[in-house]
């Protein structure tokens, strides 16, 4: 078991934990938490491949991960803004209760 495989397995496990959280929880914010975990797992994959890949001085993996962190922050901000707006409209964040098209 080389180090790269270890990091990739940890990233895969973190991804599936995030996916399970996003699919099984009721609260909309917890779905967003699951999404953040999935993004983190992908970043870990990128950096692990950057480190153990053939050309670490080309910085491709590191750059990709840095941009991914920035985009994830933007997406978290907009997503949570939407959840707040939704709560103001429906007075709940329970996703199982939002099962009708008409508000």
């Amino acid at each position: 078991m080389n180090p790269l495989a270890g990091f990739l397995l940890v990233a895969a496990l973190l991804f599936s934990i995030g996916l399970a959280g996003a699919l099984t929880r009721r609260n909309a914010i917890l779905v967003l938490i699951g999404i953040e975990l999935m993004l983190n797992a992908a970043n870990l994959n990128l950096i692990a491949f950057w480190r153990y890949g053939p050309h670490p001085e080309a910085l491709t993996g590191m750059m990709f991960a840095i941009f991914s962190i920035a985009v994830a922050a933007a997406e978290a901000a907009v997503g949570l803004g939407l959840v707040i707006h939704l709560h103001r409209h429906a007075h709940t964040t329970d996703l199982d209760a939002m099962n009708r098209m008409r508000g």
Partner: protein, 167 residues
């Protein structure tokens, strides 16, 4: 693989598990912060110092606080009536398990196919990252700047209190 790697990986996975399993939403957000911190330590273990510190600054310093504020503004600390898991939790769990088995199988099956490259510590300084950002990656940099501006304005507009209609 070193003992430090096992410890940090265990911490990250424990934080992630706690973040999706706990009942109290604020506890979930704090466990998410622990997962972010573990992830930053994993980045430092991989000699990616800039990414590690950027992870702490952006995720723990901004995203975690954002999640916590959103929980407080939507009264997320109250437990909903039907429990915290949705009706279709079993399907979600099965899907996640399937995804993990597929990814894990792909990793383990290709364990011998590690790319042949230098395995010493890459000497990457912040100066190299700055140079790369300004020369090769300048277009993504500008696009991300536009994206962040748009996201900031959009988030403020979406979450703003609408003016009351005149009576």
């Amino acid at each position: 693989m070193s003992f430090a790697f096992y410890l940090i990986a265990a911490l990250t996975l424990a934080g992630g598990l706690a973040a999706v399993l706990l009942k109290n939403t604020v506890h979930c957000a704090l466990a998410l912060t622990v997962a972010f911190a573990g992830q930053a330590l994993l980045f430092l273990d991989l000699d990616a110092q800039f990414a590690g510190f950027a992870q702490i600054l952006v995720y723990i310093g901004a995203v975690a606080i954002l999640v916590v504020f959103a929980i407080l503004l939507t009264k997320g600390s109250e437990t909903p009536k039907g429990g915290v898991y949705s009706k279709h939790w079993l399907a979600g769990l099965v899907i996640a398990a399937a995804v993990f088995s597929m990814l894990g199988w792909a990793v383990i099956w290709s364990v011998h196919a590690v790319p042949r490259g230098p395995v010493g510590t890459p000497a990457v300084t912040v100066l190299d990252i700055g140079n790369a950002l300004m020369s090769r990656y300048v277009l993504p940099l500008e696009i991300v700047a536009l994206l962040l501006t748009a996201a900031m304005i959009g988030a403020v507009i979406i979450a703003m209190h609408e003016k009351e209609r005149a009576k």
